[in-house]
Amino acid sequence: MHATPEPDPTPIPRSLLPRFLLIGAILLAIAAAFAYVGGWLAPHRLTPKRLIDQFQANAGVYPGYRRNHAKGVCVAGYFKSSGQAAAYSVAQVFAPGERTPVVGRFAIPGSNPYAPDGSVPIRSMALRFTQANGQQWRTGMNSMPVFPVATPQAFFAQLQAQQPDPATGKPDPKKLAAFFAAHPETAAFRAWAKTAKPSASFATESYWSLDAFEFVDAKGVRHAVRWRMAPEATDSGAAPAGQADYLDADLRQRLAQAPQRWKLLVTLANPGDPTDDATQTWPADRTTLDAGMLVIDSEQAQDSGACRDINYDPTVLPHGIAISDDPLLPARSAAYAVSYLRRTSEEAHLPGSARPSAKARPESAR
């Protein structure tokens, strides 16, 4: 032992406070940046969760069901390519003569799985093509030629305007009017909706992609496209009066007789046609390809069928198809993922997920 202690090899300055503060400030700044990017410090940013929460605010929560297009039925079949689209897209599904299995779903828009079939004039068709190479093409289409809005922000504003007034249980007509006044792009859709009648069948409807996509050919050239499923069945009658559920029975009856078919019609954009605006149609003279035939030959209840656990995210695409600059597409992908996580969590009865209430489907139907 020395009488005088040796100097410390790492001398520590007198006041460490500023350095501790600096370290604290650095950590805090990083944590704050993380929280900001995650949306916690930006409550006004439109997030996928807010979109889905708004669906729930409008219609309630039906555990296990999709937050939109909740009422539907699973179907299956295949797509037989004509080869006509192969010059524009290298996707295997379009190779001449290629037969690709399909798992699909017909539905009506709305968050209530018990809504009457006649409550909306729109039907929807969702498809998942599984290519032989394992890549998938998922698409969700609606039976109308234009979408009411062009952006997720406008879609959110529309949902907010449609939220039922607690006093009347109905949307406030003033809010709806204000929304439409502020959104003239909804005019084409509203004109269509004025004459549209709920169809008696899923099988007689055309289904539009609405959003634009890009086909990528063998040279890597991109072609802006939209597509549509055009039905073979044309015997569209009026929907039966006074009945809540008829679409499912109609489909079952038709499938018992014969498979139902749709032609996949792909429209090529001309330069300048809008690809970022689903409220506008493209002129009728655009080149249209008959890409092949969709054949639906079976159906299953949505509570147990193969479509139940599929998220028909329209951005799940094979090599040869890509998203366009349409702002609805990333919003759909993000929102469908939240809806999918909520409903699969509910199916799994995970803690914190919504539980079936008296309103929800009976236990026996799960």
Binding site: L16, L51, I310, L350
Partner: protein
């Protein structure tokens, strides 16, 4: 084999900083993409998957490097509890940089999604399609990411504590360039 250089092996140092940037970027990309409805969602997700798989591959290489080249000992005068915390948090970081990409890959598999790393490169499924498994893995991906972020913050705080307050050569031991001679390893000599 004992490390008496006072430094991590060069591959360990290079991998440390390369992966520090990649992992931190992944945390921000992940949290940013799930809270956005804009085009950001699409392009961030396109980066997220291949970058995550790259982290998985690099983490395996890094573990191999770690097993071949033991790290320099921590300063001998570091309290036992801090040494323990350092060791535990390092292994937690290793565990998370392997678990995160595996959970991401498994959750997409369980959800029935094709695991696309590019327009045409698809990884095989590593988990059977199952909605319950998807939901659990998807939540796990979030919670492990939060744990990774908190562990990273503690790790950064500790590194700055070593560099700014203790100034004991620990920070220099992982630096890619040697600016000054790091403090000699003090495992065998008790300074007090």
């Amino acid at each position: 084999m004992k490390n008496t250089t006072g430094l991590f092996a060069l591959p360990a140092r290079v991998l440390h900083w390369l992966m520090a940037v990649m992992i931190l970027a992944m945390l921000f990309i992940g949290i940013g993409m799930v809270s956005s409805v804009s085009e950001r969602h699409a392009w961030l997700l396109r980066i997220h998957k291949p970058l995550g798989i790259a982290i998985l591959l690099l983490a395996v290489v890094r573990l191999a490097v770690r097993l071949r080249h033991p790290p320099p000992p921590l300063p001998a005068d570091l309290p036992t509890l801090q040494k323990l915390a350092a060791r535990a948090s390092h292994w937690l970081l290793y565990a998370l940089m392997i678990a995160m990409p595996l959970v991401g890959w498994a959750m997409l598999s369980a959800g029935g999604y094709p695991v696309m790393l590019s327009d045409s490169l698809r990884l095989p499924a590593i988990f059977p399609t199952n909605a319950t498994a998807f939901a659990i893995l998807r939540h796990l991906h979030t919670w492990l990411a939060m744990l990774l972020f908190l562990t990273f913050l503690a790790h950064l705080g500790a590194a700055l504590y070593h560099g700014l307050i203790r100034r004991d050569g620990v920070l220099a031991s992982i630096a890619v360039h040697r600016r000054e001679t790091p403090a000699p390893p003090q495992a065998d000599v008790d300074a007090r």
